[in-house]
């Protein structure tokens, strides 16, 4: 804790005011000791969702590629740009499109903010999907992370629905016809199909009521659901023991171990189960055995005394401050920079204003729905409702079907050949359908060659 400055007299109080205010907000100076590093993350509201210490394996860039973080940061960008766009948008069929033109023509940074919002939305769909692939191919959905996988699948669906409700709002040709098609797909759902369509549109056709409903869903209902699910998703990571990692990551010392954080270590002399030479920790009680170190747990909130040592495991963890936070900051800066660059060079499309009498030919959804649209062109029920429902159900149930916990924490583990192959086929099928829908379909949805 920082020693508060105390001086007497009005002059003294005034003189110390800035310093005292500063110190009451930031309780610790930039940490130079392990205790300080721990306290920095432990006592900060925004940082304490992280553990004080994090496993080295978690920090490997090639393990996660930061995809979950990227998804979350894109959601933050979407929230900020979305709120800014709300200052100028009116969800009215007579005004919405004009407001789009105003954004382009007369609002400062209007085009740029809309570009950022659009490209972040596309990026988020891609990042969430790739994140799901990462989790699958590293076997990370397996016990005890089954439920977090389920939350993740729900988050993917909400992301898609966010995007779907978003593109009605400009009230251009793409918006109108995509929603016409999308809600007609919903009408193919068994039993309640027509009811669902009517509730979504608030009318029998796409019009003012539908625009208002999609607006409310897009700016209030779905972001709330998404935020709630994200909170549970993050919380569950902590409760499930951090990110997944291979079992050997807990029993072997990482080679980079010897370089940092030396002071908090103590050699466990009795155990010689592990091969010597896996790292060479320094300590004052070395008795010739090397390799196994007792893991220490500090109870910072209560005790400042010596660490408690638990279990015969090597300590492969590092302090979140600065290792994890710098990595996260790096991903954040990279994500923002990427969105800024893309938004600078590419304009978000805005088609002709709605013409309810003439659908564009071909009428195409955004790229991530073109796989669905391709399937729908064969059969509305099976392509639009049947197969997607089965796919989602299987995704939700995967961790409860594949119960063998093996190959966790390694990309494409040999033991997981069957599930990985099946998932690869699932992912590739959707990618191929999207490519067909994007490049090989022309007027009247007939096959065309892109060359």
């Amino acid at each position: 804790m920082v020693q508060r400055v105390r001086r007497n007299g009005l002059f003294g109080v005034l003189k110390d005011l800035p310093r005292n205010i500063w110190d009451s907000i930031f309780r610790h100076p930039l940490p130079s000791s392990d205790l300080g590093r721990a306290q920095t993350s432990f006592t900060n509201f925004f940082l304490h969702i992280h553990p004080v210490k994090v496993h080295r394996h978690t920090l490997r860039p090639t393990y996660t590629f930061g995809l979950g973080l990227i998804s979350f940061f894109l959601f933050l960008i979407l929230t900020v740009t979305g709120i800014l766009l709300m200052f100028y948008y009116v969800p009215s069929t007579t005004q919405a499109y004009d407001r789009m033109l105003d954004l382009r023509g007369s609002v400062a940074f209007g085009t740029f903010l809309r570009n950022m919002h659009r490209w972040s939305a596309h990026g988020m769909v891609a990042a969430v999907f790739l994140h799901m692939c990462r989790v699958f191919f590293t076997g990370s959905y397996q016990s005890p992370r089954e439920f977090n996988w389920v939350i993740g699948v729900l988050l993917f669906l909400v992301t898609l629905f966010m995007s779907f409700t978003g593109y009605l709002l400009p009230w251009d040709q793409l918006a109108f016809w995509a929603i016409t098609v999308g809600t007609s797909i919903a009408a193919y759902a068994p039993v309640f199909g027509q009811e669902i369509r009517f509730l979504l549109l608030g009318d029998n056709t796409v019009g003012q009521e539908a625009l208002l409903r999609f607006y409310v869903l897009h700016v209030a209902v779905l972001p709330l659901i998404l935020s709630l699910l994200v909170a549970v998703h993050f919380w569950r990571i902590r409760k499930d023991g951090g990110l997944s990692r291979p079992p050997e990551a807990d029993t072997e010392l990482f080679e980079s171990q010897a370089q940092t954080d030396e002071p908090v270590r103590e050699i466990e002399p009795a155990s010689a189960t592990l091969a010597a030479g896996v790292g060479a920790p320094v300590g004052d009680t070395t008795t010739g055995m090397m390799g196994v170190v007792k893991r220490r747990y500090g109870i910072q909130g209560l005790v400042r005394g010596p660490f408690t040592t638990i279990g015969n495991v090597p300590d492969n963890s590092v302090f979140s401050w600065p290792h994890l936070f710098m990595a996260e900051l790096f991903v954040f800066v990279l994500t923002v920079a990427g969105v800024l660059v893309v938004s600078f060079f590419f304009a978000a499309p805005l088609e002709e204003p709605v013409n309810v009498q003439h659908p564009p030919n071909p009428a195409k959804a955004p790229w991530y729905f073109l796989g669905l649209q391709e399937m729908v062109s064969y059969s509305a029920f099976w392509g639009g409702v049947g197969i997607p429902t089965i796919e989602v159900l299987i995704l939700l149930l995967v961790p409860y079907i594949d119960r063998r916990v093996r190959g966790v924490g390694r990309w494409f583990a040999r033991e997981r050949l069957l599930p990985n192959t099946l998932f690869l086929i699932f992912a590739l099928t959707n990618v191929i359908l999207i490519i067909i829908g994007t490049f090989f379909r022309g007027p009247n949805w007939e096959f065309v060659s892109p060359w």
């Binding site: 016409t180 009498q357 029920f381 949805w445």
Partner: protein, 164 residues
């Protein structure tokens, strides 16, 4: 009363009654809470289902028979019907694709949908693409003032013409 002296505490009749009453009240509270939750979900659904809509009416006039000369097929896109006149017979065919609701355009062989490539013949029967049903035919009436009126709430069998 000292519990340590009794190895097994045998509930008295009064205690039994108390336990039963407590369990019953717990059960009743549970039913009440779950029931309230279900009722509130339903009332929300009822709230967001509009009772009145502001869209286009399903019965509308389309003009006098002279405006549709014999042998013509005229699509009225904002009403989503195609008026077919053959001699002195007249009918209205829907131009909303039965697949996913796009407007079908008149083609040389009948109708074609730009969204997913469904094709229909002159009478609205499916000749290709994913459309599951033929285009419906609607009731046409000749109003007393001499205007034709299409009623999209009433479907008629394909091939049903009125004489004008």
């Amino acid at each position: 009363m000292s519990m340590t002296k009794k190895a097994i505490h045998k509930p008295t009749a009064a205690e039994d009654e108390l336990t039963t009453r407590r369990r019953f009240l717990t059960w009743l509270s549970g039913v009440g809470l779950v029931g309230s939750a279900i009722i509130s979900i339903f009332s929300n659904l009822i709230f967001i289902k509009p009772r009145a809509t502001y869209g286009e009416p399903n019965r509308f006039p389309i003009g006098r028979p002279e405006e549709f000369p014999p042998g013509t097929r005229i699509s009225i896109d904002d009403k989503r019907v195609c008026i077919v006149r053959e001699g002195n017979r007249l009918a209205a065919i829907s131009t909303t694709c039965t697949h996913l609701g796009c407007i079908v355009a008149a083609s040389e062989t009948g109708f074609a949908c730009p969204c997913h490539g469904s094709r229909f013949d002159q009478d609205g029967n499916v000749t290709g693409g994913p459309a599951p049903k033929p285009l419906p035919w609607y009731q046409v009436n000749l109003a007393p003032n001499g205007e034709l009126e299409v009623d999209k709430d009433t479907e008629v069998p394909p091939g049903t013409y009125i004489t004008v």
